[in-house]
């Protein structure tokens, strides 16, 4: 990114990503999405619209679901970020990832990383959400392939498995 010409040069910004402490040398108003993708090579978060509408860049920041295209990296200082790359434990998939595979929750896959983070956020607040709560919880993440039904089934099943395991 070029110097935005606002007098602010690059600064050191430190935050934790997927449990690892990272320091980025970035402009304060750079988008968190670009810092993750271009400076930290974490390309799982995707840019779909660049204006916070589609949710494909969603990550968890201190447990809150944020569209990383709308977050200036300055705001991430000292925070804990979770991206799609930090969900599985090594080669063992998270229960939500497994359910997405089993129930057809991912088709083209471009919305999937953001969608899965939205699901984790939802399940953190509702251990076993009703179908309407799932619909509401995922309404900020657009998917053009699935018509959502198989995603909703995957979420319900993942929630069920998590609460019974």
């Amino acid at each position: 990114m070029t110097d935005p010409g606002d007098g602010c040069g690059k600064i050191e910004i430190s935050f934790s990503v997927n449990g690892q402490q990272k320091t980025a040398h970035a402009y304060p108003m750079e988008r968190l999405l670009d810092v993750l993708r271009c400076r930290l090579q974490l390309t799982g978060a995707k840019e779909g619209c660049g204006e916070g509408e589609c949710g494909s860049c969603a990550v968890l920041m201190d447990g809150l679901l944020v569209n990383s295209c709308l977050v200036p990296v300055l705001q991430a200082e000292g925070s804990k970020i979770l991206t799609i790359e930090g969900i599985a434990e090594g080669e063992t998939l998270h229960v939500v990832q497994k359910a997405f595979l089993e129930f057809g929750g991912a088709q083209c896959g471009i919305c999937t990383p953001g969608m899965i983070l939205a699901v984790l956020h939802l399940l953190n607040g509702h251990a076993e959400p009703a179908a309407e709560e799932i619909q509401e919880g995922l309404a900020g993440n657009l998917c053009r392939c699935t018509g959502y039904s198989q995603i909703i089934e995957a979420v319900a099943e993942a929630a069920h498995r998590r609460s019974t395991s």
Binding site: G48, C54, E85, Q97, F100, A106, Q107, C143
Partner: protein
């Protein structure tokens, strides 16, 4: 063979694990050393002549690579069906957002300001934006008469039917443009060097379309152009033809700069500049007997193709052939016409002309029912195509399809009759009005007429050194499940576990041309070829005495390893051959239009809220006959996704035009359905089988786009008693329609006009 069937089972998606872990590599995830970023300077007027281009001060222009039409080594066109569409406008502009100049720089963030700082002066010319202006010849903007293509389909004696008719029913139906709205925007990376020529990596559907376009543009031989598909984040037809344009732009910048160049569109550019579904107008004039039998009719199907030819003739063809729906027309004349306007070219989108003409047909059936005094169910029942009868192109229906039975089943699944009765009784008081609507339809799988013969697709299956099997096709995965289903077919043919089969990345240097990934042809046509090529591998191993007729997977593995060790590369090829009983006349547009049709009955249950005038879909039954379902989970996903997209087409997605340019090119103001907006979409399959497809499969991907719009609008009419003949149908349209209807009723009840 001791082998459990693989087709028919929902095996894990081949690339699924990478998709749920974020490891899949889409084009914007790829970075090459010294890579520049490219951007496109586009026209801000719909039509005119470029008189001057200046580069405003304040931008370090010496750091930029700048490409104009003069830098094109070969022909300045994107070759597809015709060669009228320039890669870069040289002098004349024919639509807003037409590419004029290309810029590249190592910093992608400086590019938007640079694009804005190129000042282009024009001598504007008058432009046209509607089908009506185009056919009126308000201005001639393409060729001699603004006509890209016409077709005439004629069957029987249409002129003789009008005198015999008890009713003649005429109406006009229109559909709007629709944006594909894949969540991954378009993008391409190009690299050039003298030894290898041009290589492009991208988000795309049809590697060999781009290959052809780049050969002509760059004057390079086939072996000096290489196209590689990256993981592709949705396409729906929207990445069929336009990626050739972006690849051309990236290639020109790469040639001039000597560096790799990445072009990634942002959402606004993608929506404003790339293709959309063709807006359409369909006029029906139908002769019907008093007991509701169609005697015949005339259908005029017209589409707005935008400024250049692109794929409009093919979209027109499919729309025209589907215009008569799944009904028997003893006599019919279909006039089809694709016209030029000064909008960016409209293009491929799931359904490809059929959703437009079928919207008209299915709305018209409800209108005919009303005039004749029959129910929407009964009018369809009396006119369904039966085995042995012929379609509008005189294709004999050879398969034992029973549409009445399909309809009865859907009526039962949706509880149609009792709900319809209940809604009729309840609908008077209150602000919520409920309605039920039906659409019955068909969708032809594969290329139309002689299309598959011309394509002459080739597929390869390779026995690898480690004893596994790899499928070599240019057919692309973009969510539908291409990789999974073609692997299933190969595994089934070879009696091997699914895990033994992998898919080669679509790369024109490494895979044959199995045709474009369009037209619901991949499973049916390409799948059949995969099956043949796989059987070739098996046969070779058996005839080489390395394998017995029946074998265990490990025996196959050992035999394959040994064959490769002894003979080297081990590949089997299959090329498409048209079935001998398929006849098609390209001039008269008569004959076997498609090797197979999928058939469907969709039923929508809706509520109109008279406070907000919004329509919600409460239940949706999608029942279809698609031949053998090879992968139930993926097939269901295709149907649900298609229905969802079609609900958007019907009720939400309106492209707002001003002087040929889309005004609402953001996800905030072009509204697609969210998880909260959709009903349960209940999917049911009947499986008749299909002799032409792999293991009895037919095409499936486009079918669900055809039926929801007319089913929903028919349901709105059922709820309100007011007829709407256009989509998208937004709340403001319903408010206007109700107001107009109540004014009319006031006049009637006051004893005024009739």
């Amino acid at each position: 063979m001791n082998h459990e069937s693989i087709v028919g089972h929902s095996v894990p998606r081949k690339e699924g694990r990478d998709k749920v872990t974020g490891r899949s590599q889409y084009v914007d995830d790829m970075v090459l050393p010294n890579m520049l970023f490219g951007a496109t300077v586009r026209s801000q007027i719909p039509r005119g002549r470029i008189t001057n281009i200046t580069f405003s001060p304040g931008i370090p222009w010496d750091q930029f690579v700048i490409v104009s039409a003069k830098d094109i080594p070969g022909k300045n066109c994107i070759s597809l069906i015709g060669d009228d569409q320039p890669c870069l406008a040289n002098e004349f502009i024919n639509h807003p957002e037409e590419p004029i100049l290309l810029l590249a720089h190592s910093d992608r963030h400086i590019l938007p300001k640079a694009v804005e700082s190129v000042k282009i002066e024009y001598d504007p010319l008058p432009a046209i934006f509607t089908i009506e202006e185009s056919e009126r010849h308000s201005e001639i903007v393409w060729g001699e008469d603004n006509i890209f293509k016409t077709y005439l389909i004629e069957k029987g004696d249409v002129d003789g039917i009008w005198a015999k008719a008890d009713h003649i029913i005429e109406a006009e139906y229109t559909t709007g443009a629709q944006e594909q709205l894949y969540i991954e925007n378009n993008g391409i990376i190009a690299h050039f060097d003298d030894a290898c020529g041009i290589t492009v990596w991208g988000s795309l559907q049809c590697p060999y379309y781009i290959h052809k376009a780049l050969m002509a543009l760059c004057s390079l031989p086939a072996e000096k152009v290489r196209v590689v598909q990256m993981e592709t984040g949705g396409a729906f037809g929207g990445k069929e033809e336009y990626p050739s344009m972006i690849a051309a732009h990236a290639a020109l910048l790469a040639i001039k700069s000597g560096k790799p160049v990445k072009i990634i569109y942002d959402r606004m550019e993608d929506m404003a500049a790339t293709t959309k579904r063709h807006p359409s107008r369909t006029r029906h004039r139908t002769a019907v007997t008093k007991d509701g039998k169609i005697l015949g009719g005339e259908i005029e199907f017209t589409i707005d193709g935008g400024a250049y030819l692109t794929l409009s003739p093919v979209v027109l063809s499919r729309g025209a052939i589907h215009a008569g729906g799944p009904y028997y027309w003893p006599n019919v004349r279909i006039h089809a016409k694709a016209l030029a306007t000064n909008a960016p070219p409209h293009g491929a989108f799931r359904g490809f002309g059929a959703p437009q003409s079928l919207f008209a047909m299915e709305r018209h059936m409800d209108r005919i029912a009303q005039v004749v005094g029959l129910s929407p169910v009964e009018i369809r029942r009396r006119n369904f195509l039966q085995p042995g009868q012929t379609t509008t192109t005189e294709q004999v229906i050879r398969e034992p399809i029973n549409l009445e039975k399909l309809l009865d089943h859907a009526l039962e699944l949706s509880d149609y009759h009792s709900k319809k009765q209940r809604f009729a009784n309840e609908n008077r008081p209150g602000n919520l009005r409920h309605g039920m609507g039906i659409a019955t339809f068909l969708h032809g799988a594969g290329f139309t007429g002689s299309g598959e013969r011309y394509l002459s697709s080739v597929v390869g299956v390779e026995g690898c050194a480690d004893g596994s099997v790899r499928v070599l096709v240019s057919s692309t995965e973009f969510g539908q499940g291409t990789k999974t289903v073609l692997s299933q077919i190969a595994a089934e043919a070879l009696a091997l576990p699914y895990e033994y089969v992998s898919m080669a990345q679509p790369d024109t240097l490494k895979v044959p041309n199995s045709g474009p990934t369009v037209a619901s042809r991949t499973v049916m046509v390409v799948g059949k070829l995969v099956q043949s090529a796989a059987l070739g591998i098996r046969q070779t191993l058996i005839s080489s005495n390395l394998l017995a007729e029946t074998y265990a997977a490990e025996e196959f593995r050992a035999a394959c390893q040994r064959y490769v060790a002894e003979h080297g590369e081990f590949r089997s090829w299959a090329r498409y051959e048209a079935p001998p009983d398929i006849f098609w006349d390209d001039v008269k547009y008569r004959g076997e239009a498609y090797a197979a049709f999928a058939w469907a009955v969709y039923i929508a249950e809706i509520t109109v809220d008279l406070t907000t005038y919004s329509v919600s879909v409460d239940d949706f039954v999608a029942l279809q006959e698609v031949g053998k379902v090879l992968h139930p989970l993926l097939a269901k996903g295709q149907i649900i996704g298609g229905v969802a997209q079609a609900i958007g087409f019907s009720l939400y997605e309106k492209v707002v035009w001003q002087n040929g340019r889309m005004q609402n090119c953001q996800m905030t103001n072009y509204i697609m359905p969210t998880a909260s907006d959709l009903p349960p979409i209940r999917v049911f399959f009947e499986e008749l089988g299909n002799v032409h497809g792999a293991y009895g499969a037919k095409g499936i991907g486009e079918l669900p786009m055809d039926g929801p719009a007319p089913a929903i609008v028919n349901a709105v009419e059922d709820a309100l008693g007011v007829s709407f003949d256009f989509i998208p149908l937004l709340p403001e349209d319903i408010m206007d329609g109700l107001a107009a209807s109540s004014e009319k009723n006031d006049v009637i009840s006051a004893g005024g006009v009739r």
